[in-house]
Amino acid sequence: MATDTTSTSLESAAQGVSVTGWEAFKNSWFYKFTLFPLGQIFGFILGVSVILTVLALLLAVVFPEPRENINLTQQIARQLPDMIIGGVSIGFVYAMIALGYTLVYGVLKFINFAHSEFFMVGSVVGFEVMQRIGAAGEGVLEAWNPILLIVALVLSGMVISGTLAVIVERVAYRPLRGAPRLVPLISAIGVSFLLIDVVRGFAAITRNDFNLTYPVSQVSFFQQRPEITLTPENAPLLQFWFTAANRDEIDIGLRMTSLIIIVAAILMLLILNWFVNGTKQGRGIRAVSQDMATAGLMGINANLMISLTFFLGGAFGGAAGVLYGLNVGTVTPFVGFIPGLTAFTAAVLGGIGNMTGALLGGLALGLIETFLNGILVYFPAFGQRYTPVFTFSVLILVLLFRPSGLLGAKVDEKV
């Protein structure tokens, strides 16, 4: 960090006191870019999980037996670990996509409707790369170091989606800069439609099919399912849980792909946070997002910063696509729409333009979704097919009561 050397002298100069102890720790690189964001992530997960569990249990109080022989409290208690892990992993996917919306919105103040397609392209690229590696011969995929394989897939998804995002910005958005807000939004809708069909055409020519199934089954690493079994012996404090679930032990099964998403996403989020808040380029992005013209007067090449922002957003979308593809197995050129919409909802929920908000929104929506999926099964009148309706209602409710999202600053328009 170039500016870190200046910081201590200035801070002490400004405050007239020597910086020691907690204050110094708070300003340290380790705290600002590792400990604090990690704490934030775990805090969000914990907070949202607790709130949702309480809501679910309240529902169980109202409908103790939604279907015959189904005790809702018991079911919730049994499914809880699965719901949380599943929710967190999909939540990270949403958060990563949401970051793309938020970054671009922060800089250009428009919703990049085509962003969901960068995610889609990422997922297709991940498939292509994995397929091609696997096509080299039987056992080739298995022979790769799984971590290296994941890194290779994610990186290829990031590079291609990021580059695509930069090209899209230059071709379809830059000429429209400063036009009325509807203009770039409509252009983005056009780009979105165009990308879907281009990828579909590509898949149709090369594979004559556009259901693209990741060859995950060829890699035994991805099939692993680490399990932890909680029993009254190893977890005596959780007795209430065993009672609620009416079980002697609880298995916490972890799908390897979920674990991959969680680890990869946390790493990438830390890097992004450091980049935006801790580097000169990141400061440039923030300056451009606040006042583009003035940033230019300060010597910042605003276009470069915008391209950089699009690259970051696209790359994160692409990475999310690859991870998502590994997790769900099959992707199509249409795969971007629902996660894209959900991630957009997440961005808005958290407060669009606010990176922490995107993270919170993504995790919250992921968890809400898995909780709904887990519980709505027992309500035949609704069922899981209404999950999108509910998640979307969440967005509308939030916007009604907090038009700028959970963490968005409440801004009264300057008149």
């Binding site: 000429p175 770039p184 165009l194 055409g201 149709a204 451009v288 230019g296 605003a302 009604l400 038009p403």
Partner: protein, 518 residues
């Protein structure tokens, strides 16, 4: 452009000047109408290239009203000419080939939808991406009450007779209007892009709900949709159709469907006329001015005493009401209603019509509706048909033709891109936008030459996945992007919008300079 304005010695300009004389114009238009009609009637329906020719000859005929409107004729004569074309010539053509009538009905329905969306987006500036939902409300209103499928309506005998159709048009207006208000109420506080995404979500919700209301109580029959929806009686038209058969001397195989088509065509035309009148009356009124004010500066508008919520709800409700009426018509015409027909792509295609024609202007929106509907329902479809027709006769594209076509098309594109690129480089901005088509052109030529080479290409090898009809998304996408970049005010811009966008071009220049585009 320059040729027309700069020199009168230019032969083209001279001819245009000649055509400006009203009498000449009148004769020319009548000749044009008769010629384009004659070409269409005269087509050989058995020919291999019929889809292609039909695709080429039909648009000039349907677009004639816009030509008439642009002519230097007196207003009343214009109206009379358009009326003759729409009320006499087009049905006449329909008797020869009912697919044209079907197309015309579709165009009318979409034109009506586009006009309705234009009230919301064009007049009031509220981008609604879930507009098709109101169309669905209208269609389901009629379908649920008349389909014999075992829904809650049939079981409880809530069904109505086919002749309730005309009443249901108003009921559709009412229900869709109410739906518009219901949608409007929670989202009206949102601005611009937020509104767009939330309306999109609402549209999806309506579709998901319709898709799932098949159980536990069957209301919409879920994803299977409602079939055998009633149609209002067209019996009174049978004598007319039979009469036409005798006059034209063309045997008509099936009187009943044609009578229905004629009926629906006239209902659709009537609806369009009503919608145009209503839209115009709204535009030129305090309500229309309030909408413009809201669009241009919401805060100032409310401070000047314009009640935002009420005015926005009015926009939503009136836009939705149009869609409701058309939905009832659509349900009756198709006799089948399913959630499939009301997807996001439909909302986007209607938006594309409004944008392509020119946001805010009624004539422009109509033009946009005609162009986009033709593109979608005729051009793409006929290209697919044409490919299949060629497949059936084992046609082969000669290798030299592929190369020549690639070189010519690629070359033209390259030349255009080169010229734009040079100008853009001089301005030091926007060059990248032209680099991409240039590279694409080179790549296309390269692929064509390398993969087809001197070989002939049997059309039978054309992959069915690549049928043009499947790529409507691509077409809409390209259309929207190109329109936004090169002509954001549309083909027939409304004067005020033109100024607005021209001015924004200026701000754009400043902003771009600030961010310094390259």
């Amino acid at each position: 452009m320059t040729a027309r304005t700069s020199s009168t010695s230019n032969p083209l300009a001279q001819m245009l000047g000649f055509l400006k004389q009203p009498m000449v114009a009148l004769v020319a238009i009548i000749a044009y109408l008769l010629l384009s009609l004659g070409l269409l009637i005269g087509l050989d329906r058995g020919s291999t290239v019929f889809p292609l020719l039909s695709m080429i000859f039909f648009p000039p005929f349907v677009l004639a009203p816009f030509l008439i409107l642009a002519s230097p004729l007196d207003g009343k004569i214009k109206l009379a000419l358009i009326a003759i074309q729409l009320i006499i010539l087009l049905p006449l053509l329909g008797i020869f080939d009912s697919t044209y009538l079907e197309l015309a009905i579709q165009i009318c329905i979409f034109a009506g939808l586009a006009l309705g969306l234009n009230i919301v987006v064009g007049f009031a500036g509220l981008l609604d991406l879930g507009y098709i939902a109101f169309f669905a409300v209208g269609a389901y209103t009629w379908a649920m009450f008349t389909s014999p499928i075992d829904t809650i309506f049939t079981i409880n005998n809530w069904t109505v007779s086919a002749n309730a159709f005309y009443g249901f048009v108003f009921l559709g207006v009412f229900f869709a209007g109410v739906a518009g208000i219901l949608l409007g109420l929670p989202v009206l506080r949102l601005r611009g892009d937020y509104l767009a995404i939330v309306t999109l979500g609402f549209g999806e919700i309506i579709r998901i709900v319709a898709n799932n209301l098949g159980s536990p109580v069957n209301i919409t029959n879920g994803s299977q949709g409602l079939d055998t929806v009633s149609r209002p009686s067209a019996d009174f038209l049978h004598p007319f159709v039979i009469g036409m058969e005798q006059i034209t001397g063309r045997p008509i195989a099936n009187v009943e469907p044609l009578a229905y088509q004629i009926l629906f065509y006239f209902i659709a035309i009537l609806m369009i006329v009503v919608i145009i009148v209503v839209a115009r009356n709204l535009e030129n009124s305090p309500i229309g001015r309030a909408w413009t004010a809201i669009r241009e500066d919401e805060t100032a508008a409310i401070a000047m005493g314009v009640p935002l919520t009420r005015m926005k709800l009015m926009a939503f409700a009136s836009g939705a009401a149009f869609a409701g009426a058309l939905g009832v018509l659509y349900g009756a015409k198709q006799t089948f209603v399913s959630p499939e027909s009301f997807s996001l792509i439909q909302s986007i295609s209607i938006l594309a019509m409004v944008i392509v024609g020119g946001l805010g202007g009624i004539r422009g929106v109509l033009l946009g509706a005609v162009v986009v509907t033709l593109l979608n329902l005729q051009v793409l479809k006929n290209l697919s048909l044409q490919i299949n027709a060629w497949k059936n006769v084992d046609a082969v594209i000669p290798g030299w033709f592929i190369i020549a076509a690639a070189v010519v098309v690629g070359g033209l594109l390259l030349y255009w891109a080169y010229r734009q690129l040079r100008a853009a480089l001089k301005r030091r901005e926007g060059w990248f936008s032209y680099l991409v088509p240039a590279v694409a052109a080179l790549l296309g030529v390269y692929i064509a030459i390398s993969s087809f080479g001197a070989q002939d290409f049997p059309i039978a090898n054309w992959p069915s996945q690549l049928e043009p009809a499947r790529y409507e998304r691509l077409v809409f996408g390209v259309l929207l992007v190109i329109m936004m970049i090169f002509r954001p005010s549309g083909l027939l811009p409304e004067p005020r919008r033109k100024m607005e966008l021209a001015a924004s071009k200026r701000e754009q220049e400043q902003n771009k300079a600030a961010g310094a585009g390259d």
